[in-house]
């Protein structure tokens, strides 16, 4: 194998990269999330090579992030997020928050998020799933877990 396989590493980051780490995969996920669900739509919106789009879609379906579903009597298909896929969008939302903050420049963010719960234009932040307080890089200790490498 020429490109290193991340899927067998004892690291959840590496394993997640095995799913969405290839070029274009996060953008395909984004497009499906916002409503581009068909091959032709994705190809046109992204400007991706059709060959690579095919490979990525197959991979994402293999990994149970997208589902390929017929939408017509004719052989027509659309791709929709699975539960796994919808939760992966969390990663995208954090990338958006970071990119908006550090890379948007003068023009400002390309898109805005309005939060249903409060109705405000906002963005995501990381909180502890247990106590709800902020949880960032320096707010934790890292300990070996049960699935640690031997």
């Amino acid at each position: 194998m020429q490109r290193t396989d991340f899927s067998e590493m004892a690291c959840s980051i590496a394993r997640t990269l095995d799913v969405i780490g290839e070029p274009w995969s996060p953008l395909i996920l984004r497009d499906v999330w916002v409503g581009f669900s068909r091959f032709e739509q994705l190809q046109a919106d992204l400007g991706i090579s059709r060959k690579v789009l095919t490979e990525r879609l197959n991979h994402l379906v293999d990994r149970d992030v997208l589902e390929r579903r017929p939408y017509d009597n004719r052989p027509r298909y659309e791709y929709v997020l699975t539960d796994r896929g919808r939760e992966l969008v969390d990663v995208l939302m954090v990338m958006v928050a970071w990119g908006d903050k550090w890379l948007a420049g003068q023009a400002g963010p390309p898109v805005l998020y309005r939060h249903h719960a409060c109705g405000e234009i906002s963005h995501v932040d990381l909180a502890c799933a247990h106590c709800g307080k902020p949880m960032h890089a320096d707010d934790i200790d890292i300990l070996p877990g049960p699935g640690a490498a031997v």
Copy 2:
């Protein structure tokens, strides 16, 4: 250019991918985060090609995610996170949460996070930066922002 350039797209996900979207970059960031800061350490821990490691480190320093800093009178350098870089770790922490949930299998997660604030083993969750309530893929409306493409 053979690989498509994401940096000019009007999308914060694409722009963020221009910074850490290449193979190995997130794992390099992870390693620097947890304390592997030198070339030899990174190369040994990751098993990455020295050529690619050089390219990635230069790119991350270019994008102001890492800082290259001498640590000896001899020509010795270590790589440390900048502010931008430390905030990028948010993305990794969400990848860990997702990977732990969906890919860890029988063995369980390879590492555990103990949150300083509450002392509990926990993981990150996404909250609205404005109201603090949960904020996920289906909890928002997406609106055009000031930096939207023309």
